[in-house]
Amino acid sequence: MGSTVPGGYAGKILRVDLSTERIWTEELTPEVCRTYVGGAGLGAKILWEEVPPEVGWDHPDNRLIMATGPFAGLPIWGTGGLTVVTRGAMTNGATNTQANGFFGANLKHSGYDAIVIQGRASRWVYLYIYDDTVELRDATPLLGKDTWETQQALEQLLHLSGHQLSVYSSGVAGENQVRFAAIAGDYGHVASKNGCGAVMGNKRLKAVAIVRGTKGLRVADPRGLMLAAEEIADDLKYDPSTRSLYEYGTLPGVMNLLRLGALPIKNYTTNVAPPGVDLDKWTAPGLRNGFPHRGYQCNACGMHHCHTQVLPAGPHQGELVDEPEYEGWSAGWAMGCTDPVAVAWLNTQIDRACVDVNEFGWLAGWVMECQEKGYITKEQLGGLELRWGDVEAANRLLQMIIRREGFGDLLAEGVKRAAERLGGPAAECAIYTLVGNTPRGHDHRARWEELLDTCTGSSGTLDSGPPVRHTEWGLPARFSTFDPEAVARVVGVTRGRRHFEDSLGACIFTTRTYMATLCRALNAVTGWDFTKEEAMRCGRRTAALLRAFNVRCGITPDLERPSKRYGSVPVDGPAKGQDISKHWEHMLDVWYETVGYDRRTGKPLPATLRELGLEHLIPALWGSEEAAHARR
C-alpha cells in the first residue's frame, strides 16, 4: 500500500499495455487524489493527458480506464462499482459510465484504485487480477460467450464462487465491436454508455476478472465513516424523495413517468398506455411482487434496489433473470411491449448480449415502426418480422446485431448511423442526438431538463442527471419541466454534482443525499476537509475536462441538438403539444452562460478553467492566454 495516499485509497493504478503485454503499476499521489478524487475525475484526467485527438475510439492508443474511488470497498452503501472512462464508439468522444456490483471493491482489496488499459492484444486475452498477481491469459475458450457465461466459465476455471470473483466483459457484442456494446459483470451490472464495450472488444480484451483480494483498506476516521455511512443510509431510507428508491429501486419510474407523459411508448409515437393494459402490474410493488424475487445487492448496500427474479410464466418460465431497472422496463414500452414477464426476459438477454439497453430499445422500436410503415422491409431484415411488442423477434434482432449478421451489421452501428445510412422517412423516425448518442429510457419531450442534458452532455449520455437535493445550491425546490429558462439554469447549476458522485467509487443511487453529507463521509475516509463547494468544484473540473476533451475531438455545439423525432412535439398524453424546439437556442444560451463555456465553440472559458484549477488547459484549448483574454 502506498504510504502517502489518504485513507480509502489503495494507492496504485494498474497499467496494462495489451500490445506489449506489459503490466506495471503507478503510484497515486495525494495531490491527484485530492484534485480528481477518483472514478470519473481520475479517468478524465488520464483521458485528457493520454488520448490526443488523432487517437480515435478504435485506435490502439485509446485508453480504457476502469476506475474506482475512495469509497469503493468500504461499508458505505453501494460501493463496489467502477466507472469506465474512455473515448467511446458512439460519439467518438469522452464517456464516463458507471456499473456497480463488486468489481470496485474487489479491485481495491487487491490493492488498486484503477486499471488503465492501452494497446491492442495480438490474441484474445482476459486480465486476471488477484493481489499482486496480474496476468493476461488466453481468452480463446471464452470467445462467443455472453457476459453471464463468461463469468460462469471463469468461476469454474478458477474454482471461485459468489462474490469471490468479479468478471466484467463485453459479450459477443464487444467481440464484434458493436458500437453500443457495453461492459457488464456480476450478473446484471452494466456500464452501458457510449460503446465502452466496443473499445474493450477493439483491444481484444474479452474480460477483466478480479479475485476478491486480501489487502486491507485504512481510513482516517473509522468511527466517523460508520456514522456518515449510517447518516447516508438513514437519509436514503427516510427522506420522502428517496424512500421509494430505497424500497423499490427504479421500479416506481414506470408508472410515474407514464402519468407524466415521459414514458416512451412505441418509439415516441404515443404517450398513452394502450387500452387493456393492467397498469397495476406496472406499479413498483406490482413489478417486484409479480415475480419470485430476491435481493441481489452490491457491495455493502442496504437498498432494496437490485434484485434477481425468476420468470413466473411464459415460454421462459423458471429462468433466472436480473430484475430490470426502469430503463429496461421502458425499453420494453419503447418497443410496444406491455407484458412485464416478456420485458424482464428480454432485458436479461440484452444484458447478456452486452449492449446498451436504451440504444437497443430505440433501435428495435425504430425498426418496428419502420417495418409497420413500410420504410424497412421484411426482406431487408432477412425475413424477420418485427411487430410491436414481440420480444422474441426483438431478441432475434439483438442476436443479428451482436453478430453483425445481415441487416444487423448496419444496426450494430447504432440508431444515428443506421438512420443516416437509410435516410428518407425512416431517418425521420429515429431518436438520437446529432453527437451520436441516444437518450435514457424516457420521453424527454416531457422532461426538458434531460433533453437538454442529453444533448449537451460530454459523456455520450446525460451529465447532470435528475436534480438531487438541488436546493443545496439555492435553486427552487420545484420548477416546471416546460420552463426553458428554469430548466437550463438547473441543468447548468447542478452540472458537476454527478461527476463528483461518480468519482467516489459509489453508486449514483446511494449518493442521492446532500453533498454536505457525502463530504462528511469523504472526509472521514480520507482525513480531508472537503466542503460541498469544493466537491462541486471538483465535479465541475471533471465535467470541464471531459468537455475540453470532446472539443479537442471535434465535437462542436452545432451537434448539440436532438434528431427530428427526438425533439418533436408529443401528440397525446400529459405533455401533449409541448414544443421544446421553439426554446432550444435560448435554453442553450442560458445553459452555456451558467456552466461558463463558450456558446460558439463549446470550450470552457478561460475564466472557468482558471476557477477550476485547469489553467494548464488554456493554451491547448485557446491558443495563447492573451488571445483568450482578447476574446472574453
Binding site: Q156, L158, H159, L160, S161, Q164, R212, T214
Partner: protein, 442 residues
C-alpha cells in the same frame, strides 16, 4: 482414595489429568511420571524459529500441577510394569502402586541404519533438548541438511529458513510428505519449495554421514555428496513400547485398546502415540501418532478413569503443516486405494483438493493452498467436518465431484452443522484447562 498413575506427561497424559480433575474435583490421587517437564511438542518449531520463548513451550508448570493436586516424578522413566501386583517400577527403582494406570509414553525418533547417523552432532528434532541443540547450531547462511521429508521434517522448515539458513532436504521416497499427501500434491509442494530456494532431493538413498572439517558430508547411493554445517534427522518415529515387553499387554503396532481406551489388562489404559485404537473412518485399530489423537485419547481416557463411561467414536487421522505460507493437510483415508476420487488442481494458485468417497460419504480429503487464500482454512475445517460427521452427501456428491473447491456450499446444504452440533467427544461443555483446579480443604 483411588490412585491414578499416569506414565507420560505429553499431550495424552496432561489431557487425561486435566479431565480427571474436571470430573472428580480432586477426589482422587494422581501420580505423574514424566521423563521430561511436560511441554507441547507441536510448539517446538516456533521456539526454534524464535517466535516464542522456552517458557512458552511448557504445558504444565509446577504451579499448575500443584493446582491439579498431582504428585510428580519428573525426570523419571518407567522401566517396568507388574499388572498382577498393580505396580510400576521407575528407573531409580521406585515402585508405584496404582488402582488404575495410564500408559502414555509416546514415541521416539528412529535414526536411519546408516553409518554416522548416531553421531552426537547429528541431530534429531523430537525432544526439547534436541531442539535446543539444533537451535544453538543455526547461523545465518549456514547449510542445513534435513534427512527426511515427512511431517516432522516439514514442521521445522519454516524455522530453519527464518534463521536464514540454506536448506537441502533429502528423502528416500520419490516424493515429499509420502505419508501425508499423494504424488500430485507433492509435486505442487515441491515446486512451491523450489521457487523459494529450498534444494530438494527425493529418491535419495543415504549411505553415510561423515565428518568433514567440522562439517558433515552426506553420501548417497547415487548422485553428488551433500556437505552441510548441520544435519537434522527426521526419519520417523516409533512408539516407546520396550518397557512393556513381557507384561501380558496385547501389543500390535501399539497397545491395543477398546473404545474406553482400556488395554486387555485390567485397570491399565493406553493413550496417544502408543495406543492402537479405533480409527474413526476405517473402523479398524490403528496407531495415530498425531497430536489431535493424543488430545482426544487423553480426554476420553481421563473421563473413563474418573468413572465416566465415555465411549470413543475413534480417532480421525489428520495432519496439517504449513511451509512458507502454503497449507498442506490431509484427513482420514486420504490414501484409500479403493475409494472413489474427486480432485481439482489449479497449479498457478498452488491449490489442490482431493476428495475420497465411499458411496456418498467422504472418507478422506487432501487440501493444499496458500494460507492467505480466504477459503483455505475454511475448506480445511469443513473437509474435516464432512469426514468426521460421516454425513451422506446425496446429490452434493456429484456437485463436489465437479467443484471440489466449493466445499462450503455442499457442507452447508447437506446440513452438516446440524449433524455435528451433537457430535462431541465428552458431551460436556469445554472448560479451559487453566480453569480446572482442585480446591483444597473443601
Amino acid at each position: 482414595m483411588v490412585r491414578h498413575v499416569i506414565v507420560g506427561g505429553g499431550t495424552a497424559g496432561m489431557n487425561a489429568i486435566t479431565t480427571i480433575r474436571q470430573y472428580d474435583k480432586g477426589a482422587s490421587e494422581i501420580v505423574l511420571v514424566a521423563s521430561e517437564r511436560p511441554y507441547a511438542r507441536m510448539v517446538l518449531p516456533y521456539y526454534l524459529k524464535g517466535d516464542i520463548s522456552e517458557a512458552h513451550v511448557y504445558t504444565a508448570t509446577p504451579a499448575r500441577l500443584r493446582a491439579l493436586d498431582v504428585q510428580t516424578y519428573i525426570g523419571r522413566r518407567a522401566v517396568g510394569l507388574d499388572p498382577q501386583a498393580g505396580t510400576v517400577t521407575l528407573d531409580d527403582g521406585t515402585q508405584l502402586a496404582y488402582d488404575d494406570l495410564l500408559i502414555a509414553t509416546g514415541s521416539s525418533p528412529v535414526r536411519p541404519p546408516v553409518p554416522g547417523a548416531d553421531a552426537a552432532d547429528v541431530y534429531s528434532f523430537w525432544t526439547l533438548e534436541q531442539a535446543q541443540a539444533v537451535l544453538h547450531r543455526l547461523r545465518p547462511g549456514c547449510h542445513v541438511a534435513m534427512v527426511g521429508a515427512g511431517f516432522i521434517a516439514f514442521t521445522i522448515l519454516n524455522a530453519i529458513l527464518a534463521r536464514q539458513a540454506r536448506l537441502t532436504v533429502v528423502e528416500i521416497a520419490p516424493q515429499v510428505l509420502p505419508r501425508m499427501i499423494d504424488a500430485q500434491g507433492a509435486k505442487l509442494v515441491e515446486e512451491w519449495l523450489r521457487q523459494r530456494g529450498v534444494h530438494l532431493r527425493t529418491g535419495a538413498n543415504l549411505t553415510a554421514i561423515e565428518p568433514a572439517d567440522g562439517r558433515k558430508r552426506l553420501r548417497f547411493q547415487e548422485g553428488e555428496d551433500v556437505v552441510a554445517d548441520v544435519v537434522i534427522l527426521a526419519t520417523g518415529i516409533r512408539p516407546n513400547l520396550e518397557w512393556l515387553e513381557g507384561t501380558g499387554l496385547a501389543i500390535n503396532r501399539g497397545v491395543l485398546v477398546d473404545e474406553h481406551l482400556r488395554s486387555n489388562v485390567p485397570n491399565v489404559y493406553a493413550a496417544g502415540d502408543i495406543a492402537e485404537g479405533r480409527d474413526l473412518v476405517r473402523g479398524e485399530a490403528a496407531v495415530h501418532a498425531i497430536e489431535p489423537t493424543a488430545m482426544e485419547h487423553g480426554r476420553v481416557v481421563g473421563a473413563n478413569m474418573a468413572g465416566q463411561p465415555v465411549a470413543y467414536r475413534g480417532s480421525l487421522l489428520m495432519n496439517i503443516v504449513e511451509v512458507l505460507d502454503l497449507e498442506i493437510a490431509s484427513f482420514g483415508a486420504w490414501d484409500d486405494p479403493q475409494a472413489e476420487v474427486s480432485q481439482a488442481l489449479v497449479p498457478e494458485r498452488f491449490a489442490y483438493r482431493k476428495l475420497l468417497w465411499r458411496g456418498d460419504r467422504l472418507v478422506g480429503a487432501m487440501l493444499i493452498g496458500p494460507s492467505r487464500e480466504v477459503w483455505t482454512s475454511n475448506d480445511l475445517g469443513m473437509l474435516k467436518g464432512l469426514v468426521q460427521s460421516g454425513i451422506r452427501l446425496g446429490a452434493w456428491k456429484s456437485y463436489l465431484h465437479h467443484h471440489p473447491f466449493d466445499v462450503k456450499r455442499a457442507f452447508i446444504a447437506a446440513g452438516t452443522t446440524a449433524r455435528l452440533l451433537p457430535q462431541t467427544v465428552l458431551g460436556s461443555p469445554s472448560v479451559p484447562a487453566a480453569a480446572v483446579a482442585v480446591r483444597r480443604g473443601v
